[in-house]
């Protein structure tokens, strides 16, 4: 039995999005970036959202964080646990971000402040949400960095981001995301900027975190290989809509939609089959 059917039996999804629509007003009419998307992430589940650039996957993630540009018009409902995200005040939303809900961005190198030491940045959520002093937060950062397999974390917390390799920077971002044991981690193409071996290590780490902390992860990507490697359940998005969803096995073995088949066929392989 897969995680989803097991989880569905005992309770509520961590994240539940219903009929989410995001419009951007333009000079004439508007542009619909997300068109009636519904998706669920169950406790302890890694859910992949896959689609090409402009398919609305990042907009869906940013809606959940309420970090869309101000001019975006959002409708539908997003529930995290019992909280109705779209009804929260900006201050309530700020309390949620980094605490119950954390975000791992695409390019860790650019997501770390170049003027601040790693320890302070990784410990920052603890200072913001738990009123810890920076001193205690930095000592917690050491544990967090150790948990994401950064070597010699005691020494590394005093480094600036440019002293970290790409893979280590992404680990530091993940450590920051884990600081307060969130219910949901939203990862927006966290491995795209990394080379393949480092990518594999980061994916392994995310799986490990899910197994250890039972955190739910919403994983945005355009990389089918990563989805196959990591996810339990997959939503395929195209032009702002979810065109197909299913368990990873099903999507890869018997895709039902033409677009999914196209996506699978578009993956380059080392040994292409000769057309019969």
């Amino acid at each position: 039995m897969d995680i989803r059917s097991r989880a569905v039996e005992d309770g509520r999804p961590t994240l539940s999005i219903r009929d989410l629509t995001v419009d951007f007003p333009k000079r004439s009419g508007s542009f619909r970036a997300v068109d009636g998307v519904s998706l669920d992430v169950w406790p302890g589940e890694i859910v992949g959202v896959i689609g090409e650039s402009g398919s609305g996957k990042t907009m869906t993630a940013l809606s959940t964080l309420r970090m869309l540009p101000k001019r975006a018009i959002v409708s539908g409902s997003i529930e995290l646990g019992q909280r109705r995200i779209l009804d929260l005040s900006p201050a309530e939303m700020r309390k949620l971000r980094g605490d119950r809900l954390s975000f791992i961005p695409q390019d860790a190198m650019r997501a770390l402040n170049p003027t601040m030491r790693i320890g302070r940045q990784v410990g920052e959520p603890l200072v913001l949400h738990r009123n810890l002093s920076f001193k205690t937060a930095i000592s917690r950062a050491v544990d967090l960095l150790r948990a994401v397999h950064v070597r010699e974390p005691e020494r590394r917390v005093a480094d600036y981001p440019h002293g970290f390799s790409g893979g280590m920077q992404q680990r530091a971002m993940i450590a920051m995301g884990l600081a307060l044991e969130p219910e949901l981690i939203i990862a927006d193409e966290p491995t795209t900027a990394l080379d393949v071996t480092v990518q594999a290590q980061v994916l392994k780490l995310l799986k490990e975190i899910r197994d250890r902390e039972k955190t739910s992860i919403l994983f945005i990507t355009h990389d089918l290989g990563v989805v196959a490697e990591l996810c339990d359940w997959v939503y395929v998005m195209y032009r702002g809509k979810v065109v197909e969803q299913g368990s990873v096995e099903r999507i890869f073995t018997e895709p039902r939609e033409d677009y999914t088949r196209m996506l699978l066929a578009a993956t380059p392989t080392l040994f292409p089959k000769v057309a019969s």
Partner: protein, 278 residues
């Protein structure tokens, strides 16, 4: 070239060092004026009026027999005080306005930046003179007036730099961990726009010295008998033929001071400019 990368790159820093040397001399004179100056700047000696440079008075004496070197040294104090406070007023005010405008955008930005345009449209000297006329003539008011003159320049620079930083992903990341606007502005943005602001501050410092001298020359800054390069120059003008050192000494002091700060500013810009790095 391991040695070159590891060691101190003298060529890259030479402008900073040269400018820093001039600035250092002036600052030293200003801070330690009572110990450095051979005479009191106010001490009259009517037997020694308008004497040329001599062993007793290295740079001569003025129309009241005061030692010109001592007055020039004390005048450095006034210039440095005025420039320091004026640049601080401009830097703090302009940076706050510029960051606020860029961060919040929309109507806030429009109102703030159009107000800055208005302030910018006055010639600097005229604006300072108008402000002095309404505030009254004193050294403190000169500092404030010159500071206000600097606000628009700093605010534009701060706004442009903030806009560049706002596009960076670490701002999005900061927001994603629940940081407040004020914290993002001061903790995330400010440290990342300090380099260009510091360069601008060094250049503004030189300009503040000139503006202060201009105001004092016009009789709006430091009031006689207190020495300032501007009012020394103003008095010296009347004795150009008999005692040229009265004009040359404060003129040279200003020249060295302004040159020093400009070299320092240019040098810092080159050092902090990533395009200049090999």
């Amino acid at each position: 070239m391991m040695a070159a990368t590891a060691g101190f790159d003298f060529r890259r820093w030479r402008l900073v060092l040269l400018g820093g040397f001039f600035v250092g001399v002036i600052l030293f004179a200003a801070i330690f004026a009572p110990w450095v100056a051979p005479y009191s700047p106010l001490e009259l000696d009517v037997t020694q009026m308008l004497q040329g440079p001599s062993a007793a008075h290295w740079l001569g004496t003025d129309e009241l027999g005061r030692d010109v070197l001592s007055r020039a040294i004390y005048a450095a104090r006034v210039s440095m005080q005025v420039a320091l406070l004026a640049v601080s007023v401009g830097l703090v005010g302009g940076t706050l306005i510029g960051m606020t405008a860029a961060y919040f955008g929309g109507i806030v930005e429009q109102v703030l930046m159009r107000a800055m345009d208005l302030l910018f449209s006055f010639p600097a000297i005229l604006l300072a003179v108008v402000l002095m006329a309404s505030l009254g003539t004193s050294v403190l008011n000169a500092m404030i007036a010159i500071g206000i003159v600097f606000i628009p320049g700093f605010s534009r620079l701060a706004r442009a730099s903030t806009q560049a930083v706002l596009r960076q992903q670490y701002i999005e990341a900061a927001r994603s961990i629940g940081m407040s606007d004020a914290r993002i502005i001061f903790r995330e943005i400010l440290p990342n726009i300090m380099a260009p602001l510091m360069v601008e501050a060094a250049v503004a410092f030189a300009y503040a010295v000139l503006l202060e001298s201009a105001l004092s020359f016009l009789g709006l800054g430091a009031q006689p008998p207190d020495p300032s390069w501007g009012n020394m120059l103003s008095t010296g003008r009347g004795f150009m033929a008999q005692a040229p050192w009265l004009s040359i000494v404060p003129g040279m002091a200003m020249f060295i001071c302004v040159l020093g700060f400009n070299l320092l500013g240019d040098g810092l810009r080159d050092v902090t400019d990533p395009h200049m790095r090999e």
